[in-house]
Structures are given as C-alpha cells and as structure tokens.
C-alpha cells in the first residue's frame, strides 16, 4: 500500500440549526488512489469535501495530511488547501475573475508564487484543458462545458496533490463528459489522488478503484466497486442503482447463458472480450 496522503479520523460536522451532516467519519486515502464518492443528495459528500479542505471547521475529529496533523491554525489550513483542490459542482460559484487567464491565476497568485511561475502554470493549465483560445475571454460569456473546463484548469494550476471533483459530470453533455474522463485519465497518470463524487454508477463502476458510500452523514461502505455493489443491503440503504454492465453480467450468469468467470467486465470492450471468451 502506498503512503497515506489524507487521513480522517472521527470527523463530525453540524451545520448550525440543522441535523448532523457528518457523523464520526473515518477514512484513510493513499497517494494515487482513484476514488468515487457516492450516496444520495444530502448524504454529506460535499460537507465532507469542504471539511477535508479546511473551508469548514469540523466540530470533532482529526485530519492528517501526508502524515502531519492539521491544526486549526492558518498555516496548517493553508498547507491543506494548497495540497487539496476542489472543483466545485456549480462553475458559476467558483469563477471569480473577469478573464479566463485571471481566473486560472487566482489560486497560484494566492500561493504567492513569483509572477513568471504563475504565468507558466496558467499557460500549462490552459494548455491542459485546451483553453488557450479562451485566454482573454470573459468567463460569463462561455458555455457550461467551457466553464467547467475553466474550473478544472483553476485547480490544475495550483498543482494540488489531491483533487476533489464535486459531481463533475452533472452539467456536461456526452462529448464534454468524454473529454472530462480523458482529463481524469491524464491526472491519474501524473500520480494525482482523485476523489470524485458522482451519481453516475456506470461511471463509478468503470472508473473507480475504490468506492466510498455515504448515507446519512456516515460512510457505510468502503471498498472496491465489485464488493460494494455485491452487497444488496448497502446498495438499498444508500439508494444506489446497480451499474448496467454488472446487472447484465449477473443476469446472464443466473440464466445459465454464461458461466461466472469472475471477470466483472467494466466497459463494453471488456464485456465483448468476456463474451468471446465464454462462447469459446
């Protein structure tokens, strides 16, 4: 197991006047993991993200970033925010500057980097998200998909080790969703640790190596997608829909159309390969 990059112990958080949003959440995340965070609306996913980013201050519990305990002081919190970036769900809530370049530079500028370094990072992030042509445009005249790309470039420019995406596919058309998945692949190749909250179980099933299931402020399951989806009790408690391919696979096996080889195909290519295999 790789070294732990983010460790949360017994984290609790309550919004003022509301019921408890997080109840004793503990999780240990290793560097380079691909994690999907799933669970119904209001299960505590976004609250969890804001807590581990130091934006919300937990009522109880400890956070360790790269083995160091994160205190309540400004320096620790700034280190945490430097290391963990969040791509927010609603791009309009994140975009602040009046040009795309200014917007992407906001994070690096706050890191107090020298100007040349900021410029280099902005150029790199814009190139990464294929946004060079938008450099001097106004974000408010960009389309939804373009805004999403801008917000991702924002975080890439900060060179965070951990990147959290809060429901990134929610507002995207299929083409932009494919582009997003390519970007996620590139980020994984660079060794970034990714946490993605999503309601798209097909995506979670094919992309994630680990699933965190939130229900009612608690993590009720933590494991590989196969094990989580195999547990009906958890699936029902968290209101998760079974991924299509898993459903098809299991139906075929239960009807005796194919034997269970334990392949669990995650995308169409793997599925076809498995079909060829069982047919032979």
């Amino acid at each position: 197991m790789a070294e732990s990059i983010l460790k949360v112990q017994n984290l609790s958080y309550q919004y003022s006047g509301e019921n408890q949003a997080l109840k004793h959440v503990s999780v240990d995340i290793a560097a380079g993991e691909r994690i999907c965070v799933v669970g119904s609306n209001g299960a505590g996913k976004s609250t969890f993200f804001l807590n581990v980013n130091g934006v919300l201050t937990p009522d109880a519990g400890e956070i360790y970033f790269k083995g160091h305990h994160v205190g309540r002081n400004k320096k620790d919190l700034n280190d945490l925010r430097r290391g963990i970036g969040i791509v927010f769900q609603d791009a309009d809530n994140q975009i602040i500057a009046s040009t795309v370049m200014g917007e992407v530079s906001f994070g690096p500028m706050n890191l107090k980097l020298p100007k040349a370094e900021v410029q280099a990072r902005v150029d790199e992030a814009l190139d990464y998200m294929n946004l060079e042509a938008f450099k001097n445009r106004a974000p408010h005249y960009c389309s939804g998909g373009e805004k999403k790309r801008i917000t991702i470039a924002d975080i890439i420019a900060m060179h965070s080790e951990v990147i959290i995406f809060d429901e990134p596919t929610a507002a995207l058309d299929p083409l932009n969703a494919v582009i997003l998945e390519e970007v996620l692949g590139k980020l994984v190749d660079q060794g970034k640790t990714l946490l993605i909250s999503t309601h798209d179980m097909d995506f979670a099933y094919r992309w994630a190596k680990r699933l965190l299931v939130f229900a009612d402020g608690e993590i009720i399951a933590d494991g590989t997608p196969e094990t989580v989806f195999a547990d009906d009790a958890i699936r029902i408690k968290a209101n998760l829909k079974k991924p299509m391919l898993l459903d098809v696979y299991e139906s075929m096996v239960s009807r005796g159309l194919a034997q269970d080889t334990g392949a669990y195909p995650k995308n169409i290519l793997q599925f076809e390969k498995w079909l060829d295999q069982v047919k032979a």
């Binding site: 309009d92 009046s98 040009t99 906001f106 994070g107 900060m158």
Partner: protein, 308 residues
C-alpha cells in the same frame, strides 16, 4: 463664417480616412440587416462590455487608454469650446470604430442611450418662458397665457452643452469599449484607489452576471407557468422572484466564499494580467492629439468668444 471652424477640418479628414480604411477592410462582405435603431431592452445594454473583449485595440496598454480618455474628457469639459468638442468626438469615434474595428451600427446604437438623456436634459436650457412675446428671439411660441421662446444665446448654449457632453461620452466610450473591466480595476488599483473599493468592484462585476442570469432563469420558469399572464399576477411574480433572488444571492455568496477560500484566498484579490507594453509610437500619437487640441483651444478662445 468664422475662421475658427477650419480647425475641425484635420480631425474630419482623419475621420474620413478612417471611414475609407474601414470600408476597404470590409469590402465584399455581405451587408448585415439590422433591425432598426435604438437599443434592445435587456440585451444590448447589458452586454455592453462584450465589445471590450472583441475590440481590436484591447491589446493596447490599459493605463494608456484610461489616461488618454480621461485627459480628452477633461479637455472637453473644461475647454467648453465647440471646436475642441467636435474634434474630440471625431477623433475618439474614429479610434473606437476604425482602430477598434467596432461595427458603426453598434456604436451609433450605443450612442442613442446618452442622446435620450441629453435631449431631455437640454430642453430646459434651450427654452425660456415669458408673459409676452419677446422681440429679437429666434422663435416665439404663443401659449395663450405665456410664451415659450428661444434666443440665439440659448441655442448657442445648448449646442455648446451638447458638444461638451457628447465629447465626454465619446471619450469614455473609447475607454469602456476597448478596455476590459478587470483591467480598468487594476489601473485604478495602481492609482491607489483603496483596495476594499477595488475588490468590491471586482466581485460586484462578477456577481452582476450571476444575478442577471438567475433572475432571467426564474422569470422564464415563472412565465412558463403563466406567472406573467396579467398585470396583477406579474406584479406578484416579480415580487416573489425578487425576494427569492435575495435569498439565492445570500446563499450563493457563501458558496462563492467557500470556493475562494478553498483556493487559498486570504484577503488579497489579485489576478494575473497580460503584459501589454506601452508603444512609444502610440504615446507620440496621443501627445500629438492632445497638443493639437490644446492648440485649437488656445487659437479659438483668443479671438472671438463665440466658441467658448
């Protein structure tokens, strides 16, 4: 005819040369069909800042553009001189339309906004009231109980006022139609305007678009549910949407702050800006324009007082 008017000829020639240049540049392009004059409600006025992003001269140094516009504006207002005002109008319009390559139609459209205010405001300067018809007035309008009359002096004052106001508007348009708002804010910061004011400007500017967007979405959804079917319902729906807008804004404000904090915001709102070096030739051209105007001002005020 007074000799002072010949000083309008050089700017006029400049303007004509610009028109020819623009015509040549756009030769062979299909003509657009415009839907009448005047600005469209809700759209044209709100997206006025998009011209700054499209302008060909948006690459000029922002400090230079702001500085030049302010100097021309001040000259125009202080000189109170018809020839100077006309020259400023011609020169700044040429810069905006020809160098900035903005569509003339759009430019004139935008100018209709201040024209309305100008006409409304200057009527009281133009006309005078009297109980009896006035001898020697340009026009007398008998209204039975009293007379409205216009004198040569009042016509002159009104024209002077128009020229002055229009010159000022054109100078400001030259700036705002070619300089992105973010850049104007940063010029202000360099002029030592308090940081708090600048940050507020930045956030308000960004927030205006979010609010407009939210409002238009709420309005559309209310409209699709017959929320604007008659006057009474419209008033009710409008009030509801305004109240909702307040709540939504407060909520979004806090989400906005979360997002800023998560990117390490610590009280300093600074963005990277593109370096736009100051061109010496441009500085020279601006110097020429300003000294020409100063010269015209001097020449025309020294003689007859007619222009100022």
């Amino acid at each position: 005819m007074d000799r002072g008017w010949i000083w309008v000829i050089p700017p006029l020639l400049l303007c004509l040369a610009g028109a020819v240049l623009k015509a040549c540049r756009h030769r062979g392009e299909p003509r657009h069909h415009h839907q009448g004059w005047g600005h469209k409600h809700g759209e044209a006025t709100l997206s006025i800042d998009i011209y700054a992003y499209m302008s060909k001269i948006s690459g000029w140094n922002p400090g230079f553009k702001v500085g030049l516009s302010v100097i021309l504006l001040l000259m125009c207002v202080i000189a109170n001189n018809m020839v100077v005002s006309l020259s400023v109008i011609l020169i700044t319009s040429t810069v905006t339309v020809v160098l900035g390559d903005m569509s003339l139609h759009h430019y004139l459209n935008l100018l209709t906004v201040p024209v309305v205010f100008l006409v409304a405001g200057s009527i009281m300067v133009l006309i005078n009231f009297s109980w009896t018809p006035v001898a020697g007035a340009v026009a007398n309008l008998n209204c039975h109980w009293f007379t409205i009359y216009i004198t040569a002096t009042s016509v002159h004052t009104t024209l002077l006022l128009w020229g002055r106001a229009f010159g000022a508007v054109c100078a400001m348009y030259m700036m705002s139609l070619s300089t992105m708002s973010g850049e104007i804010f940063s010029v202000l910061r360099r002029c030592h305007v308090p940081k708090l004011v600048i940050e507020l400007m930045n956030m308000m500017y960004r927030y205006i678009f979010i609010m407009l967007d939210t409002q238009s979405r709420m309005k559309n959804s209310a409209q699709s549910r017959l929320g604007y079917c008659d006057f009474k319902t419209s008033i009710y729906s409008f009030g509801q949407s305004m109240g909702n807008l307040l709540i939504v804004s407060m909520k979004r404000g806090s989400q906005f702050y979360d997002a800023m904090e998560s990117r390490g915001y610590d009280g300093d709102l600074v963005f990277l800006e593109e370096e736009k070096p100051l061109d010496k030739k441009m500085l020279l051209a601006a110097g020429l324009v300003i000294s020409y105007l100063a010269f015209v001002w001097f020449v025309t005020t020294r003689g007859a007082g007619y222009y100022g």
